[in-house]
Subunit: 161 residues, 6 copies
């Protein structure tokens, strides 16, 4: 089946994950953005910020990092070195991940890779890759939504029929 990429993952549960969190009230937005890049580059599974209200009337951000436990020491070092944090907290989490396949949709705007999510053997999710859509939209001067909708529609028809 030449239309599937070699990358493939079965649906599974991973119990060796951890969430690391820290509240930051004296970091600039530039530092927050840079720290996110560093954490992803070092292997974090996910990194995100949440706006929070801290004491003494201080708008602040909570940094959350989802990581494999093995990478925790490295990611903690980045947090301590790049942010204003004097302490962080963490707790174990489990992750349930769908099986994944890729389908190459031959749209009117060129080939677009679509990620397929497999839940208990059934393909239920059809997600065109953003970068492919962006490039096709810019090349053909159409809206991103046009490309995205066509690629998704083709992948859905392929799997549902």
């Amino acid at each position: 089946m030449s239309e599937f990429r070699t990358r493939h993952a079965r649906e599974h549960i991973d119990n060796e994950m951890v969430i690391i969190e820290v509240n930051l009230d004296d970091c600039s937005g530039e530092t927050l953005s840079y720290t996110m890049d560093r954490l992803f580059a070092a292997g974090a599974n996910d990194v995100y910020y949440t706006s929070i209200y801290m004491k003494k009337n201080r708008p602040a951000y909570k940094l959350s990092v989802l990581s494999d436990k093995k990478k925790q020491p490295l990611l903690e070092e980045i947090i301590f070195r790049e942010t204003s944090s004097f302490g962080l907290r963490y707790y174990p989490v489990s992750c349930h991940r769908l099986g994944r396949e890729f389908y190459q949709a031959e749209t009117a705007y060129g080939e677009v890779s679509v990620k397929i999510g497999i839940y208990q053997g059934e393909p239920i999710k059809f997600s065109p890759e953003f970068e492919d859509c962006r490039k096709a939209a810019e090349k053909h001067n159409v809206s991103l939504q046009n490309v995205y909708d066509e690629a998704k529609s083709m992948a859905t028809m392929h799997y549902k029929s």
Copy 2:
């Protein structure tokens, strides 16, 4: 004591709860709202969204579901089928819940049910039911706050004296 509803719960701690979370950067607000309805209908104890900042400059929402562990598989299926998620995470939590009673306040705008919270045997919380207040306010063309304040005041006086 005819003024109390039959529904009653003692103060207790429940250790069999779980929080399920997933970050969503390609769901519309309509889908988020619909998913919340489906999760409540399937028995979730609580469902809420938090606005977060994800990679690649993407505004996104974190979905959080508080659930009994027994309902976790059903709620996970709804999340996978209705949202754009390819993976979710979860961790166990304990819940401490107050005892609950209901008092029927005979306000000038009609009967309003007031939920009473019991902490270590002491009634400390008096919360008029929103739907009762809303209906009374609309029927009598007064502000919601009017009805709410009177119902709360009557319940407080009943229990405190």
Copy 3:
């Protein structure tokens, strides 16, 4: 009527107001809090922050200042000197303000001042002063809500009867 404070304001519309706004992506929460204090001290009518998503993945805050046009130059100087801003924007707004009176409620926890809002001659709003409630709650070791509810109830009864 000794129970009303001397401070009194009629309901009115003020067309000489302005909103000043600036997006800040490299200020710490401490600086934001300090700047708010400075702006209020210099006569701003209101100051608030909103969490926003700026370019290059930067979590940021929008500072909004509501001010009389006469105070605009002074407040702009504070913004330029205390924050990281290289530019700000502003636009004129009109304000519709209720008439205001004060009622002194003699609660079981001491005297609490209640601000009354007058809409077209009718008292419609009864707002106990937070600081009075806080002091009474701490002195008598009861919850803030207890004091607040009793003061509001007394003011409402005084005006409605």
Copy 4:
């Protein structure tokens, strides 16, 4: 052309609109929700809340109402009566609205109305009505996204070919 609804609007600019805003730091979420319902029922074009950081460490919400200037007095009265506000502000805005048509898509899950947006004579937007999609999804026990995608795809093909 029986497939278009009678409701139709040409693309236009409306200069008689106003935004009314008020910062609320002592309203409950229940009151905010109820006030939104009242404002829509009274004819507001749009109503939304934004989480803001006010003085004295108070999490708060800004209420924003988009309205025709003729409805402003009625909407202001609702705000003053239902919320804790002692004052509000407003400023004029212009609205640019696309032309609108409706297409009835005959999907595998039943008829779904699709709103079409017309920009300078060109149909550029295809938005299936949420309520139609929700009912079809629940009746046929499929995900909302399934129904939405098919209806949008049919409308797009109808107009683009």
Copy 5:
């Protein structure tokens, strides 16, 4: 003075600016990010998103675009083509911008450009360019904050002495 870049701007007020805003409840985070890029590329002065609460329980985002009035038609077309919007609103604003100069700081990690803000003839703001700091930090394997602090310190000393 070879250490100043040729780009230079005097402090001024610009009354020909406009804010364009639209509430989006059915756009994905990917679309929002792509739209921001398109708007900046087309000449918007600033683009940002704010998380808001819309009707029917829908988490949503408000898009705000600050623009010269001349560019308004082009930016409106991008918004209509790329987002789910059927209508947008706008209002005029004035911008007060500081004078700007650039200083090249010769730090231990290489040259870093520092933007200087001039308020009524006085240099009051010293803001190292993020990209210069990022490159220097990565090249010398030090924290971003190290480079930023040194560059700012050098610029401050140069102007204050």
Copy 6:
């Protein structure tokens, strides 16, 4: 070394911590602020609020409290007595805290205490105490940033050389 305060803490991991959380949809901003003060006074390590979207279109806040497990019962009582909560949840977390020292910087605006963060024996963080900076800035009529930058620069030079 007279320039260090007596307070000192070694880098360590604390496994006896807990996060307590509760979603609040009928508390005013005043109550939220007062509750935060009470929780800090009773020994909470950290307290913060996050804006969330709850069911029935209700803007709400999540209260999060980081605490030593020994203080949990006391903090839960404050939450139950001061807020509208009928139930709360909690889960264990571990905290990783840097070593801490204090350096007294003799700035041109007076003495400012700087908190030093020690990571695996290396001083990596230099954080001037906000209150010292605020007082110095107000006394000498300079911007807060001026004082902060100078104190940080002096502490950094002391430790790095």
